[in-house]
């Protein structure tokens, strides 16, 4: 029972961070129709910028988070303006490869500046652990779940209540109609990339605190694909459900089956979902038969 509780809490915290990364992914896909293979590398950059600000320059953690988010927003807007905008209307393969190229540039830049060795973990969440029904749960994990929940709720509210959020949904629905009622589609695209980068950076900062800072963080980005496909590529609630399901599944597999099988189980689920229900749990159903 205590094992189960511990695995569940670890799974929930990983799932919450996955949901954050996936949220950015879905934002970009919804607004611009681009599959962003560089999403994991936004996590990586977030973690390293936070590390640099907090450990290397010795800023307070709250300032470091702000620096991380600011860097992410600038980076997101630059990427949209100079790399993705020329790609509008190109084939799927070109759009995929351009984000893969970007991810390579990000990974290389991090490696150039910081090397490949793991770095000291920037701790800002309370350390120590809590005893809960016989299970030992680090406080940082519980905080991570809480922070991710707050960010995710904020985004859900943003989409349903704010002007910009509603404009984004309008663009996702029909670009020409959105243009006709005076929404700047370009500004929405830029906003989507900036927000996606910002959410990924928050995820990266949490991840840095939980697992340490190393180039391996980018690998987390690959698990985003099972999450978004499971939840539905264009569904915001889907990212939360998908993130939690995949997070729990990985932890339970690691705990009860083991043998490295947890590394591959998300991808098995991914193939299964694609074969049975390609639009995921909450995605919009588009039927096209060949």
């Amino acid at each position: 029972m205590s094992d189960f509780l511990q695995l569940t809490l670890f799974g929930l915290s990983n799932g919450a961070i996955l949901a954050l990364a996936a949220l950015g992914f879905v934002l970009i896909y919804k607004a611009t129709g681009v599959i962003n293979f560089a999403q994991g590398h936004f996590l990586l950059i977030g973690a390293y910028v936070f590390y640099a600000a907090m450990i290397v320059f010795g800023f307070h953690w709250s300032l470091s988070v702000l620096i991380g988010v600011a860097v992410a927003i600038v980076l997101g807007v630059l990427v949209e303006r100079f790399v993705l905008r020329p790609m509008i209307g190109e084939e799927a393969i070109a759009v995929i490869m351009v984000t893969i190229g970007l991810s390579s540039m990000f990974a290389g830049s991090v490696q150039f500046l910081f090397g490949t060795a793991p770095r000291e973990t920037p701790r800002f969440l309370p350390s120590g652990a809590m005893e809960l029904a016989g299970a030992t749960v680090p406080w940082s994990r519980i905080w991570a779940i809480g922070i991710a929940a707050v960010v995710l709720t904020a985004f859900t509210l943003f989409f349903t209540r704010s002007r910009h959020g509603i404009a984004m949904r309008a663009v996702a629905d029909d670009q020409q109609a959105a243009l006709a009622i005076g929404i700047s589609v370009r500004r929405v695209f830029a906003l989507a990339w900036a927000l996606a980068a910002a959410t990924a950076v928050v995820g990266g900062i949490l991840l840095a605190n939980l697992t340490g800072v190393s180039p391996a963080l980018a690998g987390f980005g690959l698990v985003v694909f099972p999450v978004v496909i499971l939840g539905g590529l264009d569904s915001v609630p889907g990212t939360i459900a998908g993130g939690i399901i995949i997070g729990l599944l990985v932890q339970y597999t690691a705990g009860y089956i083991g043998g490295g099988f947890e590394q591959v189980i998300p991808f098995v689920v991914l193939i299964g979902i694609l074969m049975v229900r390609p639009y995921g749990l909450f995605g919009q159903v588009r039927i096209e038969r060949v």
Binding site: A107, S109, F225, V264, F267, I271
Partner: protein, 350 residues
């Protein structure tokens, strides 16, 4: 269409069937053949190794271009298929003690079969979804390689004895160069000719408009599965050659990065062009080698240069992909065609 491809007037069916039509084309072919034969006698051992890597990359790239460039099925699984080819050939050679040519042939067949199997999702999925599904296949194949200890030896590398055919032992890069180039030339010729057959044309029909292709009587299901099988057969050949050439097989050589490298090769070279696969392979394999050399030269000025080389290689790799996609999405092949047109019409613009 480039101007250099127009204005050729055929007077017999035989002349229409040839791959090269004009005197300039035949002359260039002779130049290329001469260069291929001369290379191992001129270059240093370091560059000969690079030349061998290029030859193997050409085979894999032709295969991937058949699938991605000509059939329009995006695949991020090339690394996995290379792994299948390499492991099949290596294990058959070590465990079953079969002669290497037989092993390579069996590896090609096995990889084609497995490729067809992993092509099944393509029957239901397109574009972005297919890319993600093939990414999953890549991860699943590599997971199998890492964990099936009884078959693959797990994460440990397999080392292979030197290739020996009919008493002749292939020791150096120089011996291997001829084997690899022979296969690379074979891959290019079969690739070129494939798209003059009905099957090859049906690949392109599926790429351009699958519904229209289906209406014209192209069996889309069969075409897609065959495209995966043929493409994987090339990957199997490249993987098997790589295994016997380097003498070491380990899963680390077939990660997602390798799949991405092959995609980069065909994008930089030119999607939907066999010649482009060759240009791309030369470009993308030579580039990191050049950066390494630069790093060594730079060391006297900046002592840390050598240790920064891997990072710079990764950055330049990404940068090249992004720049090509923004400024010349049709790759080196298109640039070369434009150059030919420019020279042909000089001093006029058109």
């Amino acid at each position: 269409m480039p101007a250099s491809a127009t204005g050729v007037h055929h007077r017999s069916y035989a002349s229409e069937l040839t791959l090269r039509h004009t005197r300039a084309e035949r002359f260039r072919l002779l130049l290329i053949l001469a260069a291929v034969v001369m290379v191992p006698f001129i270059v240093t051992p370091y560059w000969l190794t690079i030349a061998n890597q290029i030859g193997i990359a050409v085979i894999g790239a032709v295969g991937l271009n058949i699938l991605v460039g000509y059939t329009g099925q995006i695949s991020l699984g090339q690394g996995g298929f290379l792994a299948v080819g390499a492991y099949t050939s290596a294990l058959l050679h070590i465990r079953a003690d079969l002669p290497v040519p037989v092993c390579i042939a069996l590896a090609v067949i096995t990889t084609a079969a497995i490729g067809a199997l992993f092509g099944v999702p393509a029957l239901r999925l397109k574009g972005l979804y297919l890319a993600i599904a093939t990414l999953a296949s890549q991860e699943i194949i590599l997971f199998a390689v890492r964990t099936w200890d009884w078959l693959t030896g797990g994460v440990d590398a397999i080392s292979l004895p030197r290739l020996e055919v009919g008493g002749f032992i292939f020791r150096q890069d120089f011996d291997w160069y001829w084997v690899i180039m022979a296969f690379a030339v074979l891959a290019v010729i079969t690739g070129r000719n494939l798209f003059r057959t009905g099957l090859g044309r049906s690949f392109m029909a599926v790429r351009d408009q699958d519904i229209a292709a289906s209406a014209m009587g192209v069996d889309v299901t069969r075409t897609k599965v065959l495209a995966f099988a043929i493409s994987s057969a090339y990957a199997g050949l490249a993987g098997a050659l790589m295994a016997h050439y380097t003498g070491i097989v380990t899963w680390e050589r077939f990660t997602l990065d390798v799949s991405v490298l092959y995609l980069a090769i065909i994008i930089v070279g030119g999607l939907g062009s066999i010649a482009g696969s060759v240009y791309g392979a030369i470009f993308m394999i030579t580039l990191p080698a050049l950066i390494t050399r630069f790093g060594q030269d730079f060391q006297s000025i900046w002592p840390q240069a050598a240790e920064k080389v891997p990072a710079v290689q990764v950055i330049v790799f990404g940068l090249v992909i992004v720049l090509f996609l923004i400024f010349e999405p049709r790759g080196l092949n298109r640039i070369w065609q434009r150059m030919k047109d420019y020279i042909r019409f000089w001093p006029y613009r058109y």
